[in-house]
Structures are given as C-alpha cells and as structure tokens.
C-alpha cells in the first residue's frame, strides 16, 4: 500500500522570528494487533505509522514516535520558529519500514 502523508503550514503572512504551527496528516492504519476481522475472524497484525521526522533547512527540529493509541490517519500539529526562507522536509516511516517524504516551502513575508 502506498504511504500517503502531507504537511501544511497553518499560519499565513508570517515573518522571520515568528513561531508558526504546521500540521501533518498521514493516511495510515493504526492497527493495534488485537482487532479481528468480523467475517473471517482473523486477527489483523499490528501495523501502524511509527516515526515522523521533520527537518528545517537540513536540521532535524522535531521527531515523533507514534504508537497504536494514536487514531487512525494521525493528525499532528507542532510549532516551529521561522529563521528564514527554506523548506520543511518530512520523513514518514511505518512499522514495516516503508518510507515516504514530503516537502513544503517556508516563505516568510518581508
């Protein structure tokens, strides 16, 4: 299954030095390993989004370790301080080591 995730900066018209919030949405199952298929009675294996790394202009600023108590299709919001124009690079890694990467440009005003 293709791993899909996205990142978006929630604030608009921010300047250098401002603290802004960014939102990460991942389309991913968070199977606990305890649920059963209603028809076949088979147990679903544990399968979840495991790790999210956020780098701002090459430097890792945030690291998330997720576990199965997070909702399906996890939504995360986190702050960061704008230090200049550049980009946020997000790496998604799930419990089966599938990887995906997403980028968003940081464009401060003025």
């Amino acid at each position: 299954m293709e791993l899909r995730g996205t990142i978006k900066i929630l604030d608009e018209g921010y300047k250098v030095g401002d603290v802004v919030k960014a939102k990460i949405i991942v389309i991913h199952k968070m199977d606990t390993g305890f649920t059963k298929d209603k028809e076949s009675g088979k147990q679903f294996p544990r399968f979840y989004m495991k790790e999210i790394n956020v780098a701002y202009n090459g430097k890792v600023i945030a690291h998330f370790d997720l576990d199965v108590a997070t909702s399906q299709n996890p939504v995360i919001q986190f702050p960061f301080k704008v230090t200049g124009a550049g980009e946020l690079v997000v790496d998604f890694i799930n419990s089966e080591s599938d990887k995906a990467q997403k980028k968003v440009a940081v464009t401060p005003v003025g």
């Binding site: 606990t32 600023i61 945030a62 576990d67 108590a69 995360i76 986190f78 702050p79 301080k81």
Partner: protein
C-alpha cells in the same frame, strides 16, 4: 530389540508432550508482551524520578465527552521558555486503560520556539489522558484529564 526401540519412541513422545505446554506458554507470553500497560510505561518514563505537578504551566485542551472514542483531540500547550539551554525536550501523551497506552512521544528542539502539541488519540473506554513533559535538565512535569467515552474506538 523391537521392544527397546518401541520404548525409546514412547520416551521421545513423552518428552515432547512435556515440552509442549512450555512452548505454548512461551507463545502466550509473546502475545501478552505487545500490550503496554500504563504502569509500565510511566515507570519507564520516570525511571526512578518523581514527576512534578505540571497543571500550573501545562494547559490541556481535551473534550470531556467526545462523540467518538476513536478520535479524541488532545491539545497541549506548555508555558515554558524554549531557550537553547533550558527547554522542553520531550512531550509524551499516554492513556491509562487502553491495551496499548502509548500514543505519541514528541522530541522537541529549541528551534520549535514553543512547547505545543496537537494529536488525535483513540480510547477504548472512559479513562484519563496523561501528558508528560521532560525538560533538557531531566525534570518531569505531569498533567492529566479524565475523558468520558460513550462509544469506544479501540480494538
């Protein structure tokens, strides 16, 4: 000769029979190990230290009665400086009565500018959300809020 080989065979079978419950028990233990009880998680996080009551600096924005236990928004704001030598280095969100109680662990850096986290948590039953925050000097703050769940969202 025939009798001897027959005896050997029965002995072998008997030993397998004795071993079997052991093997079975091991399999069960492995199955249980994937559960993460709240007690173990918090002990691991504190690792011998004591948590300070963080309700004065931590603001938890969690609905008391969410519509659905599968998506409970948890918003944490911590009023703490984020200087390069004194900052919040980790925020962990735990639940208390799920089978697996760890929701998320967020490692912060001073580049974050403020200590804030929003995450969706699932809850199987009425229980508490516990938020733990660790500073770079090792001090741990704890805040919790009880949530009433009518419709569970956790397998």
């Amino acid at each position: 000769m025939e009798r001897r080989s027959f005896m050997k065979g029965t002995f072998a079978l008997a030993t397998i029979g004795l071993l079997n419950p052991v093997l079975f028990h091991h399999a069960l233990a492995a199955e249980e190990a994937i559960e993460m009880p709240y007690k173990d998680l918090i002990e691991e996080y504190l690792s011998g230290k004591k948590a300070t009551d963080g309700s004065s600096i931590m603001t938890l924005n969690v609905p008391e009665e969410p519509e659905n236990g599968a998506v409970v928004p948890v918003e944490v704001t911590i009023n703490y400086p984020m200087n390069t030598d004194n900052y919040i280095s980790n925020i962990t969100v735990l639940t208390t009565k799920n089978k697996v109680n760890k929701a998320i662990s967020f490692d912060l850096t001073p580049e974050n500018g403020m200590a804030y986290l929003y995450v969706n948590v699932k809850m199987g039953q009425t229980q508490e959300v516990v938020v733990l925050a660790k500073t770079n000097k090792g001090q741990i703050y704890k805040a919790s809020k009880s949530v009433r769940v009518a419709l569970g969202g956790c397998g």
